[in-house]
């Protein structure tokens, strides 16, 4: 440990309390931060003036402003250390992630709310114009959007079925079996595979009406007309199955971890008391697993709300928009009609719905776990 105490490693501020930072250094720090902020603001102002054709000096794209923001972040970091010493060094841990996330989320989201209030079609020449709440009224009257929202409810409910299957698989893997590692790796496999490649090879080939093995199997089982994607209800179920196939391992692994963390003594005690396997499961295992279950289901629902790529590649929302999730619907709104303004309004409305729903879900989940335990 001796070499680590050498003075070269020790930051000067390390031994000096806050009030011992020389005033000159503090002033330097403040000056640096002020200069950086001024530089960034000047840069933005200059660029706005250039883009609105008030002046002629400026840059072709906004990229220099991004560089300016990065430099500003660095300057703020240095300034923190200079003015606040050790506290500044601590703030330095958090600053990069914070500045990054703020730049990447807050600004685009605010910008998104603005776009949502415009009539803006990228393929038309008229450019964007402000149209207030028109998009909003259009959204309320849009039967396809309502249908997509309704589908999201169905898709989210499908999580419960996935949960039951995942729990069953976790119990299987937790039983006294041979080759457990092999089965665990195999069961985990679907999660690793690209959903797009999977939807092509399963959705479009394996479930193909004429030659797909799944269709052949269905014919053998007595389903005369195994068209997985032609009527709305079957198509929805097929999409759910495809999505479940990829994501069941995710819940399974979390539940398995929960099962393995459970103490053997409790189970033994239940058995000594004469409970059979069924009673042991419902009265011991399941209640003890509730917190893990809730975490797994909530996380899974959050992922489910983003469902898009399977639908985009396999059904493109068809037949007649029946399988659309909100994300895939908006994706096509942009891809097919370049309708940025309206699409963004739909996305923002979805965001609000999701935030309200997830907040409610977390509250319910908390109360649920507390009541049972």
């Amino acid at each position: 440990m001796a070499e680590q105490t050498s003075t070269t490693n020790a930051w000067p501020a390390n031994s000096a309390p806050l009030d011992l930072i020389p005033p000159g250094r503090k002033r330097l720090g403040w000056a640096l931060m002020a200069a950086a902020t001024f530089g960034l603001l000047a840069m933005i102002l200059l660029q706005i003036l250039y883009k609105t054709e008030v002046d002629t000096i400026g840059f072709e794209t906004w990229r220099p402003v991004v560089y300016a923001y990065v430099l500003w972040g660095v300057a703020i970091g240095i300034g923190q250390v200079l003015t606040r010493g050790e506290d500044g060094q601590r703030a330095l841990f958090l600053l990069p992630a914070l500045l990054f996330t703020i730049a990447m989320v807050i600004f685009p989201t605010l910008f998104g709310f603005y776009i949502a209030l415009t009539d803006w079609n990228l393929s038309s020449f008229s450019g964007r114009k402000f149209n207030g709440l028109d998009n909003f009224w259009q959204m309320l009257a849009d039967p396809y959007y309502r249908n997509a929202l309704f589908n999201m409810v169905l898709y989210v409910l499908a999580v419960l079925v996935e949960y039951v299957i995942a729990f069953g698989l976790a119990l299987l893997l937790n039983a006294q079996i041979r080759a457990r590692k092999f089965f665990r790796v195999v069961f985990l496999m679907p999660l690793m595979l690209s959903p797009v490649a999977v939807s092509w090879m399963i959705g479009k080939s394996l479930m193909e009406y004429r030659f797909g093995p799944a269709a052949t199997l269905a014919r053998h089982l007595g389903w005369q007309n195994p068209a997985f994607f032609s009527d709305p209800i079957t198509a929805r179920i097929s999409v759910m199955i495809l999505d479940a196939w990829t994501f069941i391992p995710f819940m399974m692994i979390m539940l398995l971890a929960g099962l393995q963390a459970m103490s053997r003594e409790v189970l033994e005690a239940a058995r000594v008391d004469g409970a059979n396997a069924w009673q042991t499961f419902w009265q011991v295992t399941f209640p003890l697993m509730l917190p893990v279950s809730v975490t797994a289901v909530v996380l899974r629902i959050i992922f489910k709300l983003k469902l898009a790529d399977i639908i985009i590649t396999v059904t493109s929302g068809g037949p007649g928009g029946a399988t659309d999730s909100v994300s895939s619907f908006i994706y096509r709104e942009y891809r097919d009609r370049s309708n940025v303004g309206y699409g963004t309004m739909l996305a923002m409305a979805y965001l609000v719905i999701i935030v309200v729903f997830v907040t409610w879900l977390l509250k319910i989940a908390n109360r649920f776990v507390r009541n049972v335990n």
Partner: protein, 305 residues
């Protein structure tokens, strides 16, 4: 092994018949689900060796049902007889493949660096930015997880066009970093919480600075967690389709976008499609088998107390 066997027979003393039934049921269910997981992969790989007739007639077993052929791989320029010839499809494929590698490794690395730092800060120090305390900041980071990609996609499309980042790998890397950052912070917070604070206190007493203690003492201990977070982030980035489909067109297209755009005018060439899909899933399948331990560690972080 024999010890284990006696162990459960003792605890399940009922009747041999019911014991055997439960064994049959358990292994039956395990094999059945293993089949469900593996058959699509098997189908993908075998289809890449089929010709058109074999695909449309639904032949399943190589050498018995059909004669395997390098057709699919030849169309990608990756079969043994075509690998040394020039092939535009292969160049295209390799370019997409490199794009995928660069974006997913780049984004995961960036997320690990800034995410670990933030997670460390949040577990060790008390912050106060205006009225935001540690819990609020943590919640701010983790709440990004519920943000659906579709909300950011269109604003980013417009912003990236203004900034000149549309169809660039850097643009994708930034977005993917944002996408996996909450997960990385979640995992790393769990990791750092499990490391006793006394270690760093001792290091500080020995004269290390805050950052010195982090790099020399904490990071080596937290390395497995970082690997776990990195791999999980890799998987998510590699498979990402939505942003890539919207924000890239020619230069920065990734593998999933290439897979999704494989419809020709004469229908689908299943063999080349299957070869492409195999190539797209192979890297992650290998990672999944080799580093399964870390993946599970990443996924279960914070789930079990």
């Amino acid at each position: 092994m024999s010890v284990q066997t006696t162990d459960y027979t003792v605890s399940e003393i009922r009747s041999p018949a019911s014991f055997i039934t439960s064994r049959v049921f358990i292994y039956g269910a395990l094999v059945f689900w293993a089949f469900i997981c593996l058959f699509p992969i098997y189908w993908t790989i075998t289809t890449s060796f089929k010709s058109a007739v074999d695909v449309t007639q639904g032949h399943l077993i190589p050498f018995v049902d059909f004669q395997p052929d390098w057709k699919g791989w030849r169309s990608l320029g990756l079969s043994p007889d075509s690998i040394f010839q020039t092939s535009t499809v292969r160049d295209e494929f390799l370019k997409r493949f490199m794009n995928s590698v660069i974006t997913s490794v780049g984004a995961s690395s960036l997320a690990i660096v800034i995410g670990s730092l933030a997670a460390y800060g949040l577990t060790r120090y008390r912050y106060k930015f205006a009225w935001f305390k540690n819990e609020d900041i943590s919640f701010f980071f983790l709440s990004q997880l519920i943000l659906p990609p579709v909300v950011l996609a269109l604003p980013f499309l417009v912003l990236y066009r203004e900034v000149g980042l549309l169809d660039t790998r850097v643009g994708l890397i930034l977005l993917y970093t944002l996408m996996v950052l909450p997960i990385v912070i979640w995992i790393m917070r769990d990791q750092f919480n499990s490391i006793p604070v006394e270690l760093e206190e001792a290091a500080l007493v020995d004269g290390l600075s805050i950052w010195g203690a982090f790099f020399r003492i904490v990071m080596p201990i937290a390395l497995p967690g970082m690997v776990a977070a990195f791999i999980l982030a890799m998987v998510l980035c590699w498979n990402e389709y939505f942003f890539a489909a919207l924000l890239t067109s020619t230069d920065a297209k990734t593998i999933p976008v290439m897979v999704a755009s494989q419809t020709g005018s004469q229908g689908i060439n299943w063999w080349s499609m299957a070869a492409l899909a195999t190539a797209a899933i192979a890297p992650l399948a290998v990672i999944g088998i080799a580093l399964e331990r870390y993946l599970i560690m990443g996924m279960t972080a914070g789930a079990v107390k």
